[in-house]
Amino acid sequence: MAMTTSEMRPGAEVLLRALKEQGVEVIFGYPGGAVLPIYDAIFQQNAIRHVLVRHEQAAVHAAEGYARSTGKVGVVLVTSGPGATNAVTGLVDALMDSIPIVCLTGQVPTHLIGNDAFQEADTTGITRPATKHNYLVRKSEDLARVVHEAFYVARSGRPGPVVIDLPKDIVINPAPYAAPATAPHRSYRPVLDPAPDAIAKAVDLLKGAKRPIIYTGGGVINAGPAAAAMLTRLVRETGFPCTSTLMGLGACPASDPHFLGMLGMHGTVEANLAMHGCDVMLAVGARFDDRVTGRLAAFSPQAKKIHIDIDPSSINKNVAVEVAIVGDAGRALSALLDAWARNTKPQDRPALAAWWREIEAWRGRDCLRYTQATAPGAIIKPQHAIRRLYEITRDLGRETFITTEVGQHQMWAAQHFRFERPNHWMTSGGLGTMGYGLPAAMGVQIAHPEALVIDIAGEASILMNIQEMSTLSQYRLPVKVFILNNQYMGMVRQWQELLHGGRYAESYTAALPDFVRLAESFHAVGLRARTIEELDPVIHEMLATDRAVIADIAVDQAENCFPMIPSGAAHNEMILGPEHESEAAGITDEGLVLV
């Protein structure tokens, strides 16, 4: 039981004390009537910093960026009604991508709940399917306990967003303080330690593998940098090839020769064909998403599958597996490493070598190849812009964090920017939220003031939360927005080209703003590269500027993102770029209904 002190303080003070005890340093928020007492309490203290965003959705994305780059819980504060409803997209985004968030929402006073009071919304009702869990605090004596519990729920097990709805009388009225409970939670106790027999079975399968693959995901990032290090050790000790989902990039260093790049819809040929042809698959913290599996009936048909996941509902959801290991990725990987060392069964080295020869042949096709014309005046290829951004920042040697918006630029970033460490890549994977990248970058920069933080953006996505340029300027956050400007919703245009007969319905953005002047109007620096000879100088200038920058990079409007597994196709039915011969089966009628 938590200890309660007899001293009573206004609810808002109790709330802040609980936040402080949870280690909160910063809140991303936006005020309004229902939360004014909380703002008043924030005003009167210095321990917790408040960052004023320009839209509540951005507050949640900023908290996500903060959380993903630090491993801590991100905290959001918004008012009742529209404040809470504006936050919903961010909450679902965090739910889909397993990001720990605590979102405090104002609510009308308890006696008015249900009366259609001014700025009343049924926030717990609306956010029930948008959160891992939510609370409505109805009694002052519950306040501190609920706050502590919310943090526990947000960060433990499979992390996710938690809403605490706070009626105005609760934050005004005196409330007792309670320290965090020391006893285990009464009902929510995620399993962290893997079952030894499952580990033993897994090692048996892995030792006997002739064509193994390790398929890793965001769960390894959730499990922390130590888990990523353990994964890298496992990859090197086994000599197995390793691929990653969009969410897991950075866990296994991209420069490691065992790493095959990203798999899935826009994954590499070597990763997808290795997944397709493997005989033993070790999935770690990855959830067999449809972007990854392609057509389920044709997914890895010969593989015996081992799945490590902290959430039992992720296992056997889409794909049936032979060995289920429920537990934290870090603990499971370390148990696997121990058991691997103890198991005396020899590996099938010759088979592994033959498997690698096959993989190297696939890798040799260099599926991400593109041709950049170099004569002055040549159009910039979007892939090349990212390659150069990667190479120049790598040579600079500064700690670099990349966020993205959603679309082709996001996929090109995943393909061409190489991540050596976990927690340095933030992208909206599960929900695919355009407008995620700029606020997320803001949150990352708040957490890492000295680091280089770049949002790789599309010109359409960036307009979805462009108002946050104002936040950047207020807090002097030197975030770099690197726009691959193709004047199209490129990802939509690509699908229209490939699936809808080239009828480009509403995917061209007429009347785009002048991004250079737009940057300037927000007190930031605007730069533009129109042709290839302007690219490097603009990147250098952007990186040398210690203020917020928008770099508007005009890129080839017709470029498509390849490889691509069309919806409804299998891993061995990829469409490749114009520089390659495709083995694509084309798009089926069943594929057309998929997204």
Binding site: R128, P129, G157, S313
Partner: protein, 170 residues
């Protein structure tokens, strides 16, 4: 989900904290993820500890039923999820109040059948009966089928309460 085609019915009991919103979480999970609810009951049990028991009868392939259980289990206020139809023999009971509007010959026939099914008369007028009947849902269904031609007018059913046979507890 190849090799996962067999459909089965599952009776699942869920012990939850008796707090506001918990039923909405369970129902929202079923509707949001497109699972079937064939029957659902909820009532407080274990008064001292503030817990309720939800009994839900659902159907799906084995993989879907396992998924339903895993999804239920990850709701924060859920203490325990038990698949009674899988874990061993269990009892399932449901109560129904059944109104028959009939006169003459049919009244005697209705009473005879009620007697055979151990349904009790809890209300009667010269044109109607209300029967109370408890039993396995199949037995209720069978009784209702027989009553239909005799003037079945209205039914109120509780949904299934279920418990394991023998010493097993959830």
């Amino acid at each position: 989900m190849a090799n996962d085609t067999g459909f089965r019915s599952a009776t699942i009991s869920v012990l939850v904290d008796n707090e506001s919103g918990v039923l909405a979480r369970v129902i929202g999970l079923f509707s949001g993820r497109g699972y079937n609810i064939d029957s659902l009951t909820v009532a407080p049990v274990e008064d001292g500890r503030g817990r309720s028991r939800i009994n839900v009868v659902t159907s799906g392939t084995e993989m879907v039923i396992e998924q339903i259980k895993a999804q239920l289990d990850r709701l924060v206020p859920v203490h325990r999820v038990a698949d009674l139809s899988k874990e061993g023999p269990h009892l399932a009971r449901e109560m129904a109040l059944i109104k028959i509007l009939c006169a003459g010959e049919r009244r005697a026939e209705a009473l005879r059948l009620a007697d055979a099914f151990r349904a009790r008369v809890v209300d009667a007028t010269t044109e109607s009966f209300v029967f109370e009947m408890t039993g396995n849902p199949d037995k209720l269904d069978a009784f209702l089928d027989l009553m239909r031609p005799l003037g079945l007018a209205e039914v109120s059913r509780t949904g299934v309460a279920a418990i394991a046979r023998g010493t097993r507890v959830i």
